[in-house]
């Protein structure tokens, strides 16, 4: 099979305007994945399925990843004029100060597709798509029209992560009930406070149980 780099160039030549990026996998398996921009993902996926050499006709798995906002701090040396008193006279002197600079990389949701070829007996090729952010730009193109197997799994990703797949024929919750409002697999999900009876609590569960107990006793005292 072609290497990831070769597949990347093949997609870029076949789909004009597609911006691809290789997300390296540092493990011994070295299964690097292809990050494709949402606008050209559908065309890229169609190419992967229909290309005579690749023929990735089998979608094995669709999953989601939640990446939180990342805050990185780095120390930067800044030179700027500072007022100083030298021999009783106030003058401006350039001084180098070390400052910590905080940069926030906005979080996003990611959909990951694992593709194989039944015809050519090769794979996997891993395809990734990323949303704009985690709150209002969560649309990604649905790949269900290309691989029918994606239908239920995209519903599951929608249910648990909240990615909205545009073009999906039947995007409803699949595991949780329809009136459910949360996305349980997101990393900032807080589960219901039903820690009233934890006979063998430890670690995080113990903390939650103690917090619940404190909250209910103050409620009862009021």
């Amino acid at each position: 099979m072609k290497t990831v780099e070769e597949i990347k160039t093949a997609i870029e030549t076949a789909v004009s305007g597609a911006q691809l990026e290789i997300v390296p996998n540092g493990s011994p398996s070295a299964e690097h994945s292809l990050l494709v921009d949402a606008a050209h993902a559908f065309a890229a996926a169609k190419f992967l399925r229909d290309d005579a050499e690749l023929k990735l006709d089998f979608l094995s798995n669709v999953t989601g990843v939640d990446w939180l906002d990342k805050e990185t701090t780095e120390k930067v040396k800044v030179t700027r004029p500072v007022e100083k008193e030298v021999n009783g006279v106030k003058t401006m002197v350039d001084e180098t100060v070390e400052e910590t600079k905080k940069t926030v990389t906005p979080g996003y949701l990611e959909a990951v597709y694992h593709l194989y070829s039944m015809a050519k007996k090769h794979g996997p090729v891993i395809l990734r798509m990323r949303t704009g952010n985690r709150s209002d730009k969560v649309e990604l193109p649905s790949l269900t029209p290309i691989w029918r197997a994606a239908e239920f799994q995209e519903r599951e990703v929608f249910d648990l992560f909240g990615i909205i797949f545009t073009g999906h024929p039947d995007l409803r919750r699949i595991l949780m009930w329809d009136g459910f409002k949360d996305y349980p697999m997101r990393r900032d999900y807080v589960d219901p406070d039903d820690y009233e009876y934890e006979p063998t609590a430890h670690d995080d569960v113990l903390k939650r149980a103690q917090a619940h107990l404190a909250a209910t006793t103050t409620e009862a005292a009021q």
Partner: protein
């Protein structure tokens, strides 16, 4: 009232009863006859929720033979069933349906909560989608721990239930729920809310147990 002691007034002196039996005279009470009839034909409802159901099916098969206890007739309708074996994980999506099925069963009805999940949520207790024990919504007669419990454990639970039925009195304070006009016959079905089931438990059935350390 423990399981070991007889709850009803003994109408006939037990020794006299044995003596009369030796002479070919059979003496009994309506209560004994009634309880004997009920305990000997407890028909379970045919439904399973997870892997515990496989053990339940094994229990009904020839090797363990639940038919020995008069319970081989699994009924596909709650209207014809006496016993609900909650065999497996009760998810929050499934819980309202389980309570609804229980409401549709005719009295007298009994519940066996089978396995770690059905009694407490089991390995999924801290998850977002699993009910922490079906006893939060419906009264459970026998709890069986295990993951899954072996068929022997289910048979043991069944025998415990039969013993419990045998000791029920038809009158008095300890009479079963279905003979008590004031006792609730229907149990509220929880609503599927925006974040969790509403209410999270039925306070008439379940209160927070006191942990003694």
């Amino acid at each position: 009232m423990g399981l070991g002691e007889r709850s009803f007034d003994v109408a006939v002196d037990p020794e006299l009863k044995i003596e009369l039996g030796k002479q070919g005279i059979f003496v009994t009470t309506i209560q004994e006859l009634y309880n004997w009839g009920r305990k000997s034909s407890v028909w379970p409802m045919q439904f399973g929720l997870a892997c515990c159901a496989i053990e339940m099916i094994a229990t009904t098969m020839a090797r363990y033979d639940l038919a020995r206890f008069g319970a081989e007739v699994f009924r596909p309708s709650p209207r014809q069933a006496d016993l609900m074996i909650v065999s497996g994980t009760v998810t929050k999506k499934m819980a309202p349906q389980v309570v609804r099925l229980y409401n549709q069963m005719a009295e007298p009805r009994y519940v066996i909560a089978m396995g770690a999940c059905a009694i407490s949520g089991g390995p999924f207790k801290q998850g977002y989608n699993v009910l922490k024990g079906i006893d939060r919504y419906i009264p459970v007669d026998v709890h069986i721990p295990g993951c899954p419990p072996r068929p022997e454990a289910l048979l043991q639970a069944f025998m415990t239930l039969q013993k419990k039925i045998d000791e029920q009195s038809l009158t008095g304070e300890n009479r079963p729920r279905y003979l008590n006009v004031d006792a609730p016959g229907e149990f509220p079905v929880p609503e599927q809310g925006e974040h969790d089931l509403v209410p999270a438990s039925n306070p008439n059935v379940w209160t927070v147990p006191v942990v003694i350390r």
